[in-house]
Symmetry: C2
Subunit: 353 residues, 2 copies
C-alpha cells in the first residue's frame, strides 16, 4: 500500500528556509520504509514576498494551500523595525490568517525536557506536558478598533470573543488528549476572577465536559499563578487547556524552561481534517542569524513528528521522535555546535542506518 501526501511548504523568512530544508529531509527519510511519498508544493510567502510584490497572502495562495493534506511552515517576519514592513503586519496577515481561515482551533504545543538538555531552572524535575491552546477565538479575533487616533483623546479597544461552540470543541480535544496520557490530568488556565464572562464560559464548559471523563482529574489555575508553577513545579502539569492569548504566553514560558525555543514544536490543528493542519516551530524568523547555518532545526523537525502523527503515520512519527531524542542526548557529548544541516543530517542518519 503506498500513500501520497500533498504537502504545502512555506519556508518563510529569516532562518525559516534553513530549518524547513532539514525538516523536509527528515520527513522523507522517516517515511521511505512505509512507502509514503510527499508531493511538496513550495509557497513563497512572508516579508520577502511582501517586499517584492506587496502581497501578504492572496485568495489564490489560500485556496492553493487549502488543497493540500498538511502544511509545514518555517517562520515568517522581516527584520524588526524595518520601516517598509511597518504597515504589513505579516503575523496577522499571514500566520494568523492561515490559522483562522483553516480553522486551526487546536494549537498543540508539547513541552518535554529531554535528558541532558539544560534548563534555566535549577531543579526542573520531570517536565512533560502539553498545552492545548485555543487557536481561533479570544483576543486574537482581530476585533479591535480606535477612535480619535493620534490625539490626546484616543480610545483603543480590543475585544476578546469566546463562544460556547469554540470553547467546547477545544476543551473536548484537551480532555481526549488527557485521557490518552498516563497521568490523565487536565488544568484549565484562565483569569476567571477578572475576565468574569469569558472565564465563566470556560469554567462551565470544562465542568460539563469533565463529567464525561471521570478518569481525568481536573484543576484550575489563574494565569498569573500558572506562571509561578511553571517555574517552581512544572512537573505538576500534564495537559493545560487555555485561551489563545494565555496559551501564547504560557507556551513561550514553557519552551524556555524545557530547553528553549530551539526545541519547541507546534501544530495548528483542524482535528476533523476539513482543512489542512499546519506544523511550525514556535520560534520566529531570527533574521539576525539567517543564512548562516546557525539555526537549530530541531523544533522544525519535531514539528514534522507532530505532522506525521496527525496524518496517521504514527510509526514514522515515533521514529522521528526517537531519532531526535537520541540526537539531543548525543549533543552534550559534542564539543562544538553543529551547522543547521549537520543537525538534520545526523537525524537522517539515525533514521536510515
Amino acid at each position: 500500500m503506498s500513500t501520497l501526501i500533498k504537502l504545502a511548504v512555506i519556508p518563510g523568512d529569516g532562518i525559516g528556509p534553513e530549518v524547513v530544508a532539514e525538516a523536509v529531509k527528515v520527513l522523507e527519510a522517516a517515511t521511505v520504509a512505509d512507502d509514503v511519498t510527499f508531493d511538496a508544493t513550495w509557497f513563497s510567502l512572508g516579508a520577502a514576498r511582501f517586499l517584492e510584490t506587496g502581497d501578504v497572502l492572496t485568495d489564490e495562495d489560500l485556496t492553493a494551500i487549502a488543497g493540500h493534506d498538511a502544511i509545514l511552515l518555517g517562520a515568517v517576519g522581516g527584520v524588526p523595525g524595518d520601516p517598509r514592513l511597518a504597515d504589513a503586519n505579516i503575523e496577522r496577515g499571514l500566520l494568523l490568517k492561515l490559522r483562522f481561515s483553516l480553522d486551526h482551533y487546536v494549537n498543540l504545543r508539547p513541552s518535554v525536557l529531554f535528558p541532558g538538555v539544560p534548563s534555566p531552572l535549577a531543579a526542573p524535575g520531570n517536565v512533560d506536558f502539553v498545552v492545548v491552546r485555543e487557536g481561533t477565538e479570544g483576543p486574537y479575533v482581530g476585533n479591535g478598533g480606535a477612535i480619535r487616533q493620534g490625539t490626546a483623546h484616543e480610545v483603543a479597544n480590543e475585544v476578546s470573543v469566546n463562544t460556547a461552540f469554540g470553547v467546547e470543541r477545544v476543551v473536548r480535544y484537551a480532555f481526549a488528549k488527557a485521557q490518552a496520557r498516563p497521568r490523565r490530568h487536565l488544568t484549565l488556565v484562565h483569569k476567571t476572577n477578572v475576565l468574569v464572562f469569558a472565564g465563566s464560559l470556560w469554567q462551565r464548559i470544562v465542568i460539563a465536559v469533565a463529567a464525561e471523563y471521570p478518569d481525568v482529574t481536573v484543576d484550575y489555575l489563574h494565569v498569573d499563578a500558572a506562571t509561578i508553577f511553571l517555574v517552581s513545579n512544572p512537573s505538576r502539569f500534564d495537559v493545560i487547556v487555555t485561551d489563545n492569548l494565555f496559551g501564547d504566553i504560557l507556551t513561550d514560558l514553557a519552551a524556555a524552561i524545557s530547553g528553549g525555543i530551539g526545541l519547541a514544536a507546534s501544530g495548528n490543528i483542524n482535528p476533523e481534517g476539513r482543512f489542512p493542519s499546519m506544523f511550525e516551530p514556535v520560534h520566529g524568523s531570527a533574521p539576525d542569524i539567517a543564512g548562516k547555518q546557525l539555526a537549530d532545526p530541531t523544533a522544525a523537525i519535531l514539528s514534522v513528528a507532530l505532522l506525521l502523527e496527525h496524518l496517521g503515520q504514527t510509526d514514522a512519527a515515533a521514529r522521528v521522535s526517537a531519532a531526535v531524542t537520541a540526537d539531543i542526548v548525543a549533543r552534550a557529548a559534542l564539543g562544538t555546535p553543529r551547522s543547521t544541516s549537520a543537525v538534520g543530517d545526523a537525524i537522517v542518519t539515525r533514521l536510515t542506518d
Copy 2:
C-alpha cells in the same frame, strides 16, 4: 516637626490579619525617631465580612477609606470554591473596586533577588527591576458581557479599553522611575503584533514620551518573549511598563524568580495624591495556612517601605528596606522557620536597636 498620618488598614481574610499585624508593628517602629504618628482606622472587609453582612464594599466604606492618607491591605478572598462566595467575586468587588475608585493607575511591583534568597533559576544573576503595571484600564475595566448564557450558542466578550490619557500618565511615571535608577532603561511589554490597536497606542505614546527622556534607553518585547527573558536573563530588565493584564502575569512570574510570592511587595499608587494609595503584598489570603502563624510577613513589611516612600518618609522607608534585607540575609543561617510574629519582631528589633 511632628507628622500625623491617617492610615486605613484593611487586614482582610486568611493570612491577611497576621501579616498586617507585623507590617503595622514595623511601620510604627520605623517612624518613632522621625516623630511620625499613625492614626489607624481598621476596616473589616473581605470574604468574612461578606459572609456576615452580605456587603463587599459599601459607598460608606469607600468614602471613609478615601478620607485617609494611605491604605495598608493584607489580602482578601475566602476559601476557593466556597459555594457561599460563588457570586460574590471579592476580587472584583473589593480589591479592583478600590484600585479603580481611588484611581490607582500605577501598580508598582519591584522585583529584587536579595542575597542568599533561593531562586528557582539556576543562574538568576542580578535581579533588580520594577514593573510599572497600569492599574485602571485594559482588560480589567469590567467591560464584558455574554449573550445566550448557558446555551450552546453563548458568546462571551471581554473588552480591553485603553486611552491615550490613561496610557500616557502611566508611561510618564515609568520614564521618571527609569530616569531615577542607575541603569535608566525602560522596556515596553505588549503584544503589538496581535492587539494592533491597543498595541499601537502604547507604542506611539512610549516613542513620544521617550523623546523627553533622551537619557533613558528604551526597548520593546512582546509579552510572550518577555516571559522567556524573565527566566533566561532577568538581569536585562530595569523598568518594565505594561498593561494591566500583562502586568498581572509578569509580576507573578517576576515574584517567583526573585524568591517567591512571600517577598513580593506592591503599591497601588495615585501619584498625584488625589486619592490615598494602597500598599499590599502580591500574595493572596492563603486560607489553608491562616491563623497558624505560618505566613511570611516580609511582603507586607516591604509594602510598608513602599508606603513610607510614597508618603515622603524616605529615611524611614530606607530603614525598613535595610532591616528587611538584613533579616533576609540572616534567615539562611537559621535552621528552623520562624512564626509570622517572630519575623516581624526580628525586623522591629533591627529597627530599634
